[in-house]
Amino acid sequence: MAQPLVKKDDDRDEEVEYSPFFGIEKGAVLQEARVFNDPQLDPQRCSQVITKLLYLLNQGEAFTKVEATEVFFSVTKLFQSKDLGLRRMVYVMIKELSPSADEVIMVTSSLMKDMTSKTDMYRANAIRVLCRITDGTLLTQIERYLKQAIVDKNPVVSSAALVSGIHLLQTNPEIVKRWSNEVQEAVQSRAALVQFHALALLHQIRQNDRLAVNKLVSSLTRGSVRSPLAQCLLIRYTSQVIRESANNTQTGDRPFYDFLEGCLRHKAEMVIFEAARAITELNGVTSRELTPAITVLQLFLSSSKPVLRFAAVRTLNKVAMTHPTAVTNCNIDMESLISDQNRSIATLAITTLLKTGNESSVDRLMKQITNFMSDIADEFKIVVVEAIRSLCLKFPLKHRSLMNFLSNILREEGGFEYKKAIVDSIVILIRDIPEAKETGLLHLCEFIEDCEFTYLSTQILHFLGIEGPKTSDPSKYIRYIYNRVHLENATVRAGAVSTLAKFGAMVDGLKPRIFVLLRRCLFDTDDEVRDRATLYLNTLGGDGAVVETGADVKEFLFGSLDIPLVNLENSLKNYEPSEKPFDINFVPKEVKTQPLAEKKAPGKKPTGLGAPPPGPPSTVDAYEKLLSSIPEFSNFGKLFKSSAPVELTEAETEYAVNVVKHIFDSHVVFQYNCTNTIPEQLLENVTVLVDGSEAEEFSEVASKPLRSLPYDSPGQTFVAFEKPEGVPAVGKFSNMLRFIVKEVDPSTGEAEDDGVEDEYQLEDLEVVAADYILKVGVSNFRNAWESMGADFERVDEYGLGPRDSLAEAVNAVIDLLGMQPCEGTEVVSPNSRSHTCLLSGVYIGNVKVLVRLQFGLDGPKDVAMKLAVRSEDETVSDAIHEIVASG
């Protein structure tokens, strides 16, 4: 630094900034750490070395296990020094090294000594360190000191103990819960932060006791909480209480709303904001309740602090999704935020305005946005594009200016995600606003003329193939498409060939010209392009004759594949080349939901031995393999559907049994997965006696016993029934597990020779209508619905009676029908009073079924439902209604 003569441009290397850590090296510092072992400690020097070690750790340098242990042991020597600064560094160092259990023992006594020291700083820090590194065993020894520390008159010590308690509650809840008296006392502390920490800990101790939380909240909302942070906590707890009690109180004023509103007048900004946010997030908030919160947020919008503006506009943005009118008062402030220096704030302001704006303000807004778009990052632009899309759907009359805007930004520079968002938006607008179709398609055509993203080009080509032939003048798109065949890579060329063929198949007038173009593609350098051209020419009759393309050819070439691609992929992988050709009809159509369900499940892991271990792999493929390997069942034909396992025993009983229902065309097979949870027993000859007296249409045809069922290794036994072909017979079955039990010597594991016959009652099992419907999704429900036609449509209305919520009613009907919800319509947005749910499935006999359910709240709790069914067979449509009527 003190070299004024060094020339700036010349040698930047020599001008390296001065740093006390310049050229620092781990090995050397570890050597230096030997000073910790000196009999005469030099506190200043030791502090410096620790700082160097911490610097290395902070820069991401890793210590090996040996190095860390070595450093740890020498650091423990430093407890001899009385230097307070050094001791502080020692505390930090120990926390950073996170020693192992046997190392912790080395410092325990030193730390415990510090915990009882007269120096407050020692006590506070020793508590934090010890609680960080300890395991449960040590905790009982120091518990007494911790309880004392919680009510210590020094706030730093008290906070240290309380925060440590918050962390320990995760690992040793039963110990921390014993401190609630002391914590309660600390809540009354005069020190702001102590109050905050005490409240956080107290709530966590009691969080599973709703009544206690309720009491805590009602006493504190009346009292005086001094710390703003504690007040924020209290607001959060209050809104939780409001949320949970919402179901109990029907009408009248919301409890604690006055408290939240009062907090809007608090002097700390964080409290005001926390309260305003809590009010906007109340379930079913009324506009009267919203008003005061919106007013304070509006004040924040013109604050000089960016953080306040951001917080306010972000909250208002969320409110605008559900209560756009409540936010319109802020529109003027919001518009001035479009030019905010902070682009996050500007973007949030714009998207809020787009949500709240009315039809007349759209054009003005678009003008402002155009200037704004050029100087924000792609991620913000995507948000704006999505907002514009929903605006356009809201005001279809404005499609011209909005579509223009989209096509303009499509031409500008941008990354893949951004372009994809624009293209997706245009596609959605074309689909939903018929008047926007032709201009939209042309915009897309122009875009692919100069598009660097293969994925987008192929998507657009595919879309053109669907929509283009339906326009008034399909021929004008041909040029754009054929240009692709000349100018693009093989993937896009192949896509263009398919699109050309679609035009040829759909528009007879274009056929001859299309055939000429396709024939040119026969000489392409890429084999996929050539193959496609050949296929289309042959199937569409490219020998020159212009004939109308048959419906079956169209279906073959362009029909949708009603099989989930994952299943097709699996089946193709499993297919072994043989005489038998691959048959697409044998690919299972069931949508696999298993992996998702398993992902969600890890929370409830089987505990102990009582829990049934996971059965055999439950995918359709595996079931099919398993069943076809059993000779008795091999002539039942193709497996239609396998249900999810149904538990027939309580958890933690001696024998755990669940059943899977396999449905065939004229048979049903029950697969009982049994687990023996008693180590001293071996079960043999295990069968299930099924009484089908309440299932008249079923008659038992075969049963396959399980020869032996040793402890903790699951086995299966099967029972098969015959039923009328193609009929969705339902019925109830009672089950009895019968077996021969043999004692096992636990020491040798050998079973005795003699066994005793025994029985074990299982729960009943039902075959229901949903077992006969496969969950098969469709990608575009509206198209599928329209192409199915109204020939066999059956519509009727049902009252579902009082329900807890609309969502609960929707789920109940979905479960009853066992069909696949489409387009995410199984999710009911909170507070809505009506909902439409789309379902699709395949009924036994391979009949496609589509269902449109319209739910509405009728009175406070009563749910009414309109059910419209379309299928390829009117008896099936009737059958669906019967299921609902009887369910």
């Binding site: 700082t51 009385k82 700083m121 925060v163 956080a200």
Partner: protein, 177 residues
Amino acid sequence: MELCPLIKNILLLDSEGKRIAVKYYSDDWPTNSAKEAFEKAVFAKTQKTNARTEAEITMFDNYIVVYKFVQDLHFFVTGGENENEIILATVLQGFFDAVGLLLRGNEDKKEALENLDLILLCLDEIVDGGVILETDANVIAGKVDSHSMDAGAPLSEQTITQALATAREHLARSLLQ
């Protein structure tokens, strides 16, 4: 735990985005390379903004980041996407001002590195395992700076230089306030 305001990390970077001192309180970034990637992204996103008079704020990858710069020091505090922005800003202000007090107004990278021990202690006093410990800059700096003044140790054990240094610090601080 989820109802309590939590801090995901506190970063102090230099004018090139390199670490001076960082502290992570969340498992969201399990490896050093994940941490470095996060720091790089935060720095790239914020370096063009002017966060010298008022704390600025941004949101990315579902985190909220509040930040403030002085000279070649860049201060960041990160929280989850549902965190109260103003609480995060309060923590940032506490850290920022405390460092200012501890460096006696000479807030730059050189001074920060020379007093890295104070900065690390400062971080240690602000947040413990994600839970906010203290947000008042004077209290934070006071706790860190009680340094080398062991009330339990007799005054005779302090060297003359130490005593002088302590006196100077006290003077400097009283002048600043």
